[in-house]
Structure formats: structure tokens, C-alpha cells
Symmetry: C2
Subunit: 442 residues, 2 copies
Amino acid sequence: MSDHTSAAVQAAQAARRASILLGDSSTEARNKSLLAVARAFETRRDEILEANAQDVANAETLCAKGQLARPLVKRLQLRSKFADVIAGLEAVAKLPDPIGIVQKATELDTGLILTRVACPIGVICTIFESRPDALPQIASLCLKSGNAILLKGGKEAARTNRILADVIAEASIAAGAPAGWIHLLETREDVAGILGLDQYIDLIIPRGGNDLVRYIMDNTKIPVTGHQDGVCHVYIHGDADPDQAIAVAVDSKCQYPAVCNAAETLLIDAAWPADATRRLIGALKDNGVMLKGDERIRALAPEADMAPATDDDWRAEFLDLTLAVRSVDGLDEAVDHINTWGSHHTDTIVTTSDDVAEKFIRRVDSSSVMRNASTRFADGFRYGLGAEVGIATGKIHSRGPVGLEGLTIYKYILRGEGQTVAQYSGPDGRAFTHRPLPVDEG
Amino acid sequence: MSDHTSAAVQAAQAARRASILLGDSSTEARNKSLLAVARAFETRRDEILEANAQDVANAETLCAKGQLARPLVKRLQLRSKFADVIAGLEAVAKLPDPIGIVQKATELDTGLILTRVACPIGVICTIFESRPDALPQIASLCLKSGNAILLKGGKEAARTNRILADVIAEASIAAGAPAGWIHLLETREDVAGILGLDQYIDLIIPRGGNDLVRYIMDNTKIPVTGHQDGVCHVYIHGDADPDQAIAVAVDSKCQYPAVCNAAETLLIDAAWPADATRRLIGALKDNGVMLKGDERIRALAPEADMAPATDDDWRAEFLDLTLAVRSVDGLDEAVDHINTWGSHHTDTIVTTSDDVAEKFIRRVDSSSVMRNASTRFADGFRYGLGAEVGIATGKIHSRGPVGLEGLTIYKYILRGEGQTVAQYSGPDGRAFTHRPLPVDEG
């Protein structure tokens, strides 16, 4: 076992032990630790920002040499976000406790009561890229939900991540959180070591680009919550109102094109009036969108001078002002296109027909499906979840924007008075009552 | 691509297409298909039992040659279970529909309504060993919950599985279910081919022994719901009532020792009176239990003549009348033992103290945690779930006995009137109302 593997194993084992204690701590204790971290961030502000300034200076040097992209340097900056980081910690402390909620309660028989109660998942591992404010955000959500956490950030933010993790650990543990609940992993080898530790780690949440997420999903048996791609669609049905169609399509593509919930493909029904199609294409071009069209769309709007679209464009996540456009014959063809080429993230239809909208909603197999609304709404804050762990496109556990609930699972608890299964067996056995009992409000 | 891989891929692709249509079918349509299958089983009873008799005859021949164990031959028999199989189909038709339930509803703003609605997972693959009545059971649960299914049974039951799958497909599709929703895989190569198809298959549910489950978990990136081991514990606290302790321990071990929720290790607190310990050990021996004890227990009850227990015994799933017994010093040591050596399945404490019981319940990291009740209660029927898909010991999606709900996930649905995110951005942007709306009753 190499030193790195050994360090990762030790961190994971310590996290597993701490997770039992953290999961057994009260709401008040976890909130007290969160607020202690917020105070420590205020007290040690200069020290943290100095470490961050060093990371930024190093990144500037690399950028000047052409070894690091300019946007990555910008994302490293913590100073302008520092007040938000502290406000975020305080906000998480104020959220309702996701742990301990009684989801179901059943009397199996007199004096034999079954409940299903929300509990922490256990040990979460999160691997993220350069944005260091992700560290206190995800750590605070884990602390709130009683989960131990292993963190691995990008190497450009190494100094910042180190001090952030140290301050969080020191302040939270001084306030009563169990030692070992948070660990920072600092090397690539640590990550490789972690991916094999399915006996200690319950869930991996990658926050980063497509390549990172794919690498993790391809190299671990540990469950992963996240998304690789956001290939989101806007489908303009034949009966769509032109003003709504233009508003939704332009917003979905242009409001913030660099993110996963921005639209990448526009499907225009062949039954939609040609003049409306030309207006929509004109509006997109006016907003600076570079269009790649299939043959029918290009023939319909030759003045737009679109590049021809290929199959690669239907699966592309452009993340910039590029948009693939295709003409489709009716709802079924649109749904087929989305389910075949999309990434099961977020897709919207513009239509004035309730029947068409509801069929689209039922048949599109995506985490968020919308009618007459921009794909950009698919987000934990806009959905009112209070906090966002990430967006998931899998079909297991969590889907779509994931809030604190995504960091919980449940256990069944049976409280009896010495009952045995033998008493309920055979022709003279007792019968179960299976009487539902009242539970906590959702 | 080999023929087998190609057959598996084609089945998975067809299942994926069918899953969209099945997920969009009404409660009535799915129930109608279930009842049509029940009627077809009645009509084709002789044909099905004849195929099964051939499988049984072949198995008898293998058994006579010593190539197949006697209990496997017995489990192949369908005749004595046939009425139960039909009753099971009818019972599933009567269960509440798990699909379409509105779990959450939020007004984001006037005319912009978000809901979270239960939907099928999509394509389920189930791989099971010789018991052929598992096939109609799991197929009916998938049909009920709108999931397409790929099935692979044991080779000893090949003829039975083939006709069962044919009858289910023919009857359900004639009654309106979409073609392709159910596929039987018939070769080992099909299974190997299936395990790589994470783009088409959403969840694997293995039903079989430890080796099968481990093989699947080790060889796929597709999520797996199930359990490898059932290393369940009974912990007798120092204040336990002797009669309750004896009843719970004997039932947990002896009521049906061959199953996953039977106890495998007994932890007796050193503070429990020595005469009670000796009574309990005597009761277990009277029930035919072979005991393996640690040094302290053997010293305490030398008359029991226990074999010495090793570390291997603490992790053993005996599945027979063998029980490992250990003396522990207090609750914390018992919890540590269970979390270290157990399989996170089902563990019970016998105690008269509420505080001790509740700490045990909070700290034992298992899917079912009990007080003063036999571990044998951990079961979908006894828990009142209506149907059991299996028992899961993972921490993601489902845990413990899994009912129909475990075959569902949700999608977010946003219905608007042309709203854009730009309208909600910037200093003059509209504010979200995030007003909770009433939802379906759980």
C-alpha cells in the first residue's frame, strides 16, 4: 500500500467512525457548529484571503505563460465572494433539519411499531474543480445533514482549500462536531485511492466538467450523483405562440450560455408557420447566436446563412452561443429526438395545447420537463430547495436539482415488547394489523 | 459484436423504447394487463406445469448424479406454488399505483408552478437463481410501476422461465402493454453483455446468493439494489429481561435460519447476570443451535462446550443453526462490533432502558434497527409494504425491505406562461414566491 493510498484509507476510516457520531448529534449541535465556522471565517478573513491571493498570483503567472485559461483564474478569486460564503453558512444553519423526519409509521400489531426515519447517508466524497467557494458550501451541507465528508479540490486552489478546510475542521470540532468528520485530500493519487473504497464511502458527488465526472463514473463502484452533460432542448410545437416561443428560446440559449441548463438544440415543428420560424431565427441571431441547422431549416431561412448541422451537433454541449436547430414533424418526433440525443437534464416545450404539453411532459425522460418556461429555471435556488448539492441526471436516489434531501437516506426502526416471528406464523399465528400511524409533516 | 452481445443490446434498446410508452400508460391499463396475465396463467396452466415438470425431471437426474443439490430441485417446483403465483398477480393489480403521485408542489411565481411527480425508473434488469416463481413476481411489480424489464433466470429453470415470460409478454401485450416491455435473457453471455449497457439499463436487482450479487456489483457501472450478506446481530444489554432476551434470540436464530434476516451473531453484555446468560445459552442449545463463543463466554458457560470463535465467525453468514457468541462491555462496544463486522442489514437490542435502546437505534448503521423484537421481522410482507422487490443494504435510493416505491424515481415538472430567467435577474428582477402548494396524500 503506497503512502497516498494509506492516507486515503485512513481518512476514509476516520470519516466512517465520525459519521456515526455526527449522525447521532442534535439539530442544535450541528447548527452551532455551522455558525462557529461562520464566525471563524470572519475572524480569519485576512489569513484566508492571503492564501487565496497566493493561489491567484500563481494562476496569473501560469495564465501569462498560456498554461491556464483566463476564466479559471477569475473563478479562483475568493475576495469578492467572501461575504456570500459566510451568508451561505448562516443560511444553511437556518434550513430545516433533514435528519430525523419520520417518513412513515405503521403499527404492525399492538406494541410493535415500525417507523421509517430519515438519516444521513454516512460518508460523502466530493471532488470539485477550481472554484474554492464550493468547499464551504458542500461541507456545510454535509455538516447540516450529518454526513462526514472527504473533499478534493483543484490544484490551482490548493492553498485556499487547505486553509478553508482547516478553519472548518477546527471551528466545527471546537464547537462539538466529532473529530475526523471532514478531510481534505490533496493529491491526484489520493483520489485514485478513494475511488476503490466502497466499503467506507457511500456516495461521490463530483462538481466539475464533463471529463472529471466521466472519469469518476468510469473508475468507481461507489454510487455517483451528478451529471456529465447538459444537452437541453427547446421544442416549438406547431401551435406555439410566436412571442412565447421567442422569449423561451432566446432565454434558454442566451441568458447564461456557459451552464448546464442552457439550451443546446432547438427543435422547430414543421407545422409552425414559416414566418414565425424566420422571426425566431432572426431573434436568436440578433442575440449573437451562431446557428447550425438541418437541411429543412436552412432551406426555410436561407437569409440566416446557417452552418449545416451533423449528428455530432445533436449530442453537443456547446456551452457558448452556438445552437443546433432541427425541423421535426410533430410531437412524437421531437420526443424521440430528445430521448435519443439528449442528456436527460432539462427540456421544454412551447405550445398552447394542454394535451400536447402533458404528453411531452409524460414522455420526455429528463430530470426537469417544462412547458412554456425557460430551461434556465432548472436550478436548486429557483426551485426553492434552499440549497443545491448539484444537479443529477441519473435515475436512482436523486434527480434534477438536488437539495439537502439528496444527502439523506432512511432506516427502518422497529420497537417491540419481545415479539417473535413464530407468534405470527402457522394457522394459529397472530395477524398483523398494519395500521398506518400519523407521521411528520413533509 | 458477438451474437449474444447483439441480442442483449437489441433487447435493452427495445426495452428502453417500450419503457417510455409503459411509463405513459394509465393505472387502469397497467392493472388490466396484470389481470390478463393472471387469466392467461389459469388458461395455460397445464402447458406451464408440463414445462416445469421437464425442468424438474432434468434436475432430478442431475441430483441423482450428485451434480445438483437436493434443495435446488425442490425450489424449482412450480406446481404447489401455482395458485399463489396467480393470487400474487391479482394482489399486485390491487395495490395503489406508485406512479403519478405528486410529491411536492411549489408556486415559483404566479402562473409558474413546479411539481415533483413519481415516475418509473425506466428499464430494470433482474437476475435471479433457480426459483421460477420469482419471475412473475418481479415482472408484475415492474409492470405495475411502469418499468420495462430484462430477466435472466437460472439455467435449471430454463423451460419454465421461457414459457412464463412468453405467457406474460403475450397476455400483457394483447391487453395493451407496449411490445418489448419484457425480455428474457437466456445465456450467461447475455448477462455479461447486459452489465455494460448503462446507457439503456437504469437499475439491476439481483435475487440470489452472495456470489451472484458480488459478481454483478463487481462487474457493472449500473446501479444495483440488493444485499450480499445478512450478518444480523442480537445484542443483549446488561439490563435485558431474560425471558424477552431468550424469546428474541431464539426466534432471530431459529425461526428460519436459512434466510438473510436470521441472526448470525449474539452479543451478550458482560453486565448481564451470569445465570441469565447460561439460561439463554441453554435455550439456544435446546433448539439445536451449534454455538461458537469467544473466550469469556466459553468460560462463563463451560457446560455448553462451545467451539472457539475466530474473526471469521464475526463476519460469517452461516444460514444454518450455527451462531457466533461474544461477550461485550456495554452498548458502545456492541455498536462498534455491529458496525465493524455486520452487513448493515438488521440488528436488534434487548433492553429495558429507553435511553440505551434509542442510542442503539441511532448509532447502528443498518437498514433495519430493532428493540425487543426478532430480526426475522425485517421483511416486506411483515412491514406491510404490500409487495417486496428485495432487501437492500446500500445507502442510496432504497434501504431495507424494498416495495414498489423502490421501482420509482421522480421528475420535476415546470408549467409556465412563457416566463424567462432574465425576468427574475438583476436588481429590478421579479422575486420568486416559492409558495408551497398542497400535494397528494402519502
